[in-house]
């Protein structure tokens, strides 16, 4: 069952089309990575989903309703948006208590979530003195205040050190194991690849692909890199045999989706000298870059 439904969502800021007819769904109990390069429209999409930005066209619904129509939104949806949305003079505990009062949640929840994110020692310190990582933890604590079934996290790893990122992965996994639905955005696939079940990839405000991580993994391809003084001659030869090949440098050819044997045979038949040859496997990050790059957005 879809918990988050985004349909034909569009946002224009003047001439700029930030989000362009975007549609995707997030099923209950899944952890979905919302990926795209900086400026792809991720934050605008999430802010429309949370009722902070009004869409130019289209709809974004959580549990079948626009966010603004949820009766007790924080009990259903927890969100992490920009890291600095705290009054610098307010303590961490008081920040959470203010939110708890507004949302009609018990006061004690503030201490519960502070312990959950490991900030209990800093509870009575003013947020102005917090590091970026501590603010990010406090933002996550705020998101969990209402014990929501759905979490919407915009770049939660920003500002976290490697240990913090490790902790975040554990937390996301823990939240998912409890059956919660998590939509987590990032501009770095590797940050979320270990945690997510599915990915929604966007570029230039449009959907590039929505797939499982496994399906994305299957798109990684083997390629063969060849160093030869006759690179200019080798490339058309491979192309003629139906092998996709590019000139990587004046003396290098990269042939995609083939084997060293095939390239070696072809070169030998044409009497092309090879200095060096090796098989490479593209990784997920390269697939991501290829999908979201200037020529991406076609699949």
């Amino acid at each position: 069952m879809a918990v988050i439904t985004v349909e034909e969502l569009t946002k224009r800021f003047g001439d700029l089309v930030a989000v362009d007819g975007l549609s995707f769904e997030v099923d209950q109990g899944t952890v979905v990575g919302f990926l795209g390069p900086n400026g792809a429209g991720k934050t605008t999409t999430l802010r429309m989903l949370l009722g902070l930005v009004t869409p130019t066209a289209g709809t974004a619904r959580i549990q079948g309703r626009p966010y603004r129509e949820l009766a007790a939104p924080l009990r259903h949806v927890g969100a992490v948006l920009e890291a600095s949305s705290f009054h610098p003079g307010r303590t961490a505990r008081n920040h959470l208590r203010v939110v708890a009062i507004a949302a009609g949640l018990p006061r004690a929840r503030a201490d519960d979530v502070l312990a959950q994110v490991g900030l209990d020692q800093a509870a009575d310190r003013r947020v102005g003195g917090f590091s970026l990582g501590m603010r990010q933890r406090l933002a996550l604590a705020t998101a969990m205040l209402g014990d929501p079934e759905v979490l919407v996290l915009d770049e939660p790893a920003n500002g976290l050190d490697p240990e913090g990122i490790h902790w975040l992965r554990g937390l996301l996994r823990h939240l998912a194991d409890q059956g919660r639905t998590v939509l987590v955005s990032s501009h770095v696939l590797a940050e979320v690849a270990q945690t997510v079940d599915q990915v929604v990839i966007i570029a230039h405000g449009r959907l590039v692909t929505q797939s499982t991580l496994a399906a994305l993994d299957a798109r990684t391809e083997q390629s063969v890199r060849v160093r030869t003084p006759q690179a200019e001659a080798l490339r058309p030869l491979l192309t003629a045999q139906g092998i996709h090949a590019n000139l990587a440098a004046h003396d290098q050819v990269v042939a995609v989706g083939t084997t060293t044997e095939a390239v070696g045979q072809a070169a030998a038949a044409a009497g092309i000298v090879i200095y060096e040859m090796g098989a490479e496997r593209s990784n997920l990050e390269e697939v991501f870059l290829e999908l979201t790059g200037p020529q991406g957005g076609t699949s």
């Binding site: 934050t43 605008t44 802010r47 949370l50 009722g51 902070l52 930005v53 009004t54 966010y67 603004r68 949820l70 939104p73 924080l74 949806v77 969100a79 948006l81 920009e82 600095s84 949305s85 705290f86 009054h87 610098p88 003079g89 307010r90 303590t91 008081n94 920040h95 208590r97 203010v98 939110v99 009062i101 507004a102 949302a103 009609g104 705020t142």
Partner: protein, 248 residues
């Protein structure tokens, strides 16, 4: 709605600004009493009489109005300044309800700061005057009017501050705007325009009617209602056209 008002009051109570303003106002109130009492009868000024008590306890009214306006403006524009508006609207997506809760909360905040200041000025002025052999009492009708008028104007200034903040969500622009309006527009431009009868309908003159009726001002009731109407009108227009904008 009570919940939202409580949340707004909790926001106010959990930062130092509110306590700083309250302490500054109480200190200022004591200073005005001391200055007025000690200078009375000196260098040709009339000696202190029992009739001076209302003016004495009500002296900080203008400063209190300014303080309440400041709290109201920062109460809403400060949320944009610190981006806390995002969290506020995540908890309460209905922006009209957020502004309404702030109107109530900052009216209460203005009254609270005024009540504290008046309690301090009265408890300094009253025994002092009694010690000087002047028989005065807070039960005197005019003292009651001065106290009630000051509480009311401070409360309404809190409310109007929220309206101004909703209209101009940048806190510096809002504060400068209010100063320019009061000093330049209502002060200077009005006297240059020379349209008798217009001035009393403008916001700060309407507010002044609460503490200083007569002198060309409206009656207390009319001034108070008009000033409150300004605050509500700013809030409605601000909510409709400014607060409703995208929070990016």
């Amino acid at each position: 709605m009570t919940r939202l008002v409580r949340a707004e009051l909790a926001k106010l109570r959990t930062v130092r600004l509110f306590y700083g303003v309250a302490a500054a106002m109480a200190a200022f109130g004591v200073l005005t009493v001391v200055a007025n009492v000690t200078s009375a009868g000196q260098q040709g000024s009339p000696p202190l009489s029992a009739d001076d008590l209302p003016a004495l306890v009500g002296a900080p009214a203008t400063m209190l109005s300014g303080a309440a306006l400041l709290l109201g403006i920062l109460g809403i524009a400060g949320e944009f300044r610190h981006h806390t508006i995002t969290q506020t609207l995540l908890a309460t997506p209905d922006r009209g309800r957020v502004v309404a809760a702030k109107l109530v909360a900052y009216a209460l905040a203005g009254i609270a700061v005024a009540a504290l200041t008046l309690a301090v000025t009265t408890s300094v002025a009253l025994p002092w005057m009694n010690a000087k052999g002047l028989s005065v009492s807070v039960l005197d009708g005019e003292v009651g009017h001065a106290l009630a008028g000051t509480l009311l104007v401070a409360g309404l200034c809190g409310l109007v501050g929220v309206g101004v903040g909703a209209l101009v969500r940048n806190q510096v622009a809002a504060l400068v705007g209010v100063l320019v309006w009061v000093v330049v527009v209502e002060g200077l431009v009005l006297s240059l325009l020379n349209v008798p009868g217009l001035g009393k309908w403008l916001p700060s003159a309407a507010a002044a009617a609460l503490t200083n009726p007569g002198g060309g001002h409206l009656s207390r009731l009319a001034g108070g209602l008009l000033f409150a109407a300004y605050g509500l009108a700013f809030s409605v227009v601000g909510t409709r056209f400014v607060i409703r904008r995208d929070i990016t």
